[in-house]
Amino acid sequence: SQKIEQNSEALNIQEGKTATLTCNYTNYSPAYLQWYRQDPGRGPVFLLLIRENEKEKRKERLKVTFDTTLKQSLFHITASQPADSATYLCALGLDSNYQLIWGAGTKLIIKP
């Protein structure tokens, strides 16, 4: 069966440390993968997109890796801050119709 898995348990990280979130998938061949942030009571907000032929993407304190052999993406936040606390969703893009397949998200808590 097709699945997208993100850690269902909340991830607690000390401020200043690097937070690493995982997105694993099975039986998909995505053309690209996206990461979004969702705060309580709000819609998701786009953070980064990485394509199947890219290994790594960076944006300020954010870094995403994409391993199509392992069928895994890692999302890193360096020098984490309490304001980074949110739920982070990964989403697979399969083709050009722009539809996304979503993971359930991982709640990240950055403690001061």
């Binding site: 690209y32 009571g41 998701p44 996304l100 359930a104 998200g105």
Partner: protein, 113 residues
Amino acid sequence: SAVISQKPSRDICQRGTSLTIQCQVDSQVTMMFWYRQQPGQSLTLIATANQGSEATYESGFVIDKFPISRPNLTFSTLTVSNMSPEDSSIYLCSVATGGETQYFGPGTRLLVL
């Protein structure tokens, strides 16, 4: 990018009634999506609503239950018909502005009693 607003932001409804959710975009967009999100769950796509064509529904969602209108490039509505408590959820609209990125509205929180 795009700025999206939704109305209502939340509602409490009685079973058997219908609710129409509005989605307004600050720019013209072709592709608009309607999602449902249960607490702690992933986003589930209900339908894709492109202006000028009938909405395309995903498996498990039907037009009689979730009729969608897309009268122009900046506006869409989703109606949740003949509601039951199982329809209690957050309903989100999003748009794709020509790339793969989607921009979301704030969502409509629906509770059906």
